[in-house]
């Protein structure tokens, strides 16, 4: 796999500028600049409470930032509604898997295609030819995504009844079904056994090669971070304290301190690679 991360900035898919999110008295995210380039896997790491998931929630429109902007493919999407952001091309998964438990796996994946359809009340009630064509397309794309994550055999099982590892993959399939440009994964390997984690890494690597997609992920498992990331950004206390290639981050003194703890008052600034 060739290393991406060119220094030119015109191909940034996602860019956050001075992103700040405050909850009451707590600044969860403090002036974070992030740049995700097309076709790369960028990992966001940091100790618990560093603000990683908050960054995700701001990017995907669940939270509205107090300051700063989110640019996606060069357009400002700050504070847009989550469903609008999905149709723009950002799809996500959740840290604690959020599927539609009492619906079948196939129906779960079909949710991703919802934003690509436009059948309304009357066309749906009267099953117009256009609506039937659209349904068929939704089904075909969803089936293909289900095959892609190897869950074809459980397509008619309820999502709550399949194995935990499969649920993780199902959630990724659902996100992929919307045909995203940017896939945002919140700790995709958490709860997976080493074998499943290996499979996940292989899957993500294949995905980035085959599909025209960019991946932003939060990850705790250092093996995963080191194994698949093109670029790593480290958050601590809501601030970006470092970014760089995985191997550089691994040796970075500041990062080690953030994880192992040193002085609490210590505040670092990004050491750009």
């Amino acid at each position: 796999m060739h290393r991406r991360r060119p220094h030119c900035t015109h191909d940034a898919v996602l860019e956050t500028v001075g992103l700040t999110k405050i909850f009451g008295g707590l600044t969860a995210v403090n002036a974070v600049d992030l740049k995700v380039h097309k076709g790369e896997i960028l990992s966001l790491i940091g100790p618990n409470g560093a603000g990683k998931t908050t960054v995700f929630n701001v990017v995907t429109g669940i939270y509205r930032p107090e300051q700063g902007r989110v640019l996606f493919k060069g357009r400002d999407i700050t504070g847009r509604k989550p469903h609008r952001i999905v149709s723009r091309g950002i799809a996500r998964t959740f840290q604690n898997i959020r599927l539609f438990p009492d619906m079948t796996c196939l129906e779960n994946v079909m949710a991703g295609q919802h934003c690509r359809g436009k059948a309304g009340l009357f066309t749906s009630v009267f099953k117009t030819p256009g609506q039937r064509r659209e349904e068929r397309r939704i089904l075909e794309i969803s089936e293909r995504r289900l095959q892609q994550v190897n869950l074809w055999r459980v397509r008619d099982e309820l999502a709550k009844n399949i194995a935990y590892g499969s649920q993780r993959m199902l959630e990724i399939a659902r996100a992929l079904a919307s045909g995203p440009d940017l896939l945002v994964l919140d700790e995709p390997s958490s709860g997976l056994n080493p074998r499943e984690t290996e499979d996940l890494m292989a899957f993500l690597k294949a995905l980035i090669e085959d599909d025209d997609v960019t991946i932003l992920l939060i990850e705790h498992d250092m093996n995963v971070v080191m194994g698949i990331s093109d670029w790593v950004v480290v958050l601590d206390g809501g601030r970006k304290i470092a970014e760089g290639r995985p191997e550089d981050i691994y040796a970075n003194q500041e990062v080690i301190e953030a994880y192992l703890g040193k002085d609490d008052g210590e505040e670092g600034h990004g050491s750009a690679a």
Binding site: I62, M103, A111, G120, R132, L139, Q147, R153, S178
Partner: protein, 338 residues
Amino acid sequence: MEQVISPEKKGLRNSRLFILVPVIAAFMVYPFLVSDYFIDIAFFFGIYALLGLSLNIVLGEVGLFDLGHAGFYAIGAYTTAILNTKFGIPILVLIPVAALAAALFAYVVFSPVIHLQGDYLLIVTLGMGEIIRQALINNPFDLTGGPNGVFGIDFPRIALPGIGEIFVCDSSIKYYFLIWAIVGLTIIGLKSLQNSRIGRAWNYIREDEVAANATGIDSRHYKLLAFVLGAGLAGVAGNVYACKLMVVSPESFTFWESCLMFCIVLIGGMGSIPGVLIGAAFISLFPEIFRPFAMYRMLIFGSAMILMMMFRPGGAWPRKRGAVEFRSLLEDSGRSDA
């Protein structure tokens, strides 16, 4: 649009016909075999079936608690009653008008509060139902006739210019067929919706609203759509009810009516159309069957509900989730798991 129908699916379709044909035949023959009294019971079964189906959209499909549904029913009934008695507009013309009036009301009332979650929304619906009933009693603009209501509502008639009247719905049996024709059409329409992107969107929201939003579903839009559609159908039920009784009064649209509709959906099974029919049958036939024990009706009814919730929380006929009806050719062309 040719679909390859697998043998087991064909079997499924046959077994479905096996149930459906006798049921429909029984409904067609029934009114010719019994007295007007029993036809009327079946008529009210139809009204409750329609009300149950309308509430099922909101409560069953989207999982929003609505205990003020009788309010929409009342708006349909009063719209019909007032426009018919004051302006002589034919009842059948008023069916869509009643539906639109109730739907519009739902849209206006719920637009600002649709973001409320669970029990908060429940309180709003509860209040809305009571406000409508109180407003009807207070006789605004001398339209609703206060506690006495509006009377003298006409039969549904079809008249053609030049030919004159060709149809008057003036007997129990005609009302029976009127309501069940409407219920039948409603079921066909709702069935298509269940298997469409809209029906699925409703279910996604019921299952997990945050995930639905993050997957690209505009939950606000679909929740509002459910309320508007549910209210519209309840408005239609109100229309038929008004012309059947020829009088509408506020006491027909109490909180108790909303409760009954709620029970229909809970007993039958949330989001299940056959379940709603069973629930409606239970609610409308139960008082007749247990007439000798009228004193204990609530006791029996209450315990039945409790037992139901304990032993069959999914309802009498829960919706089956299984194969998507509209299957593409992928599985037949030999592609399967790698």
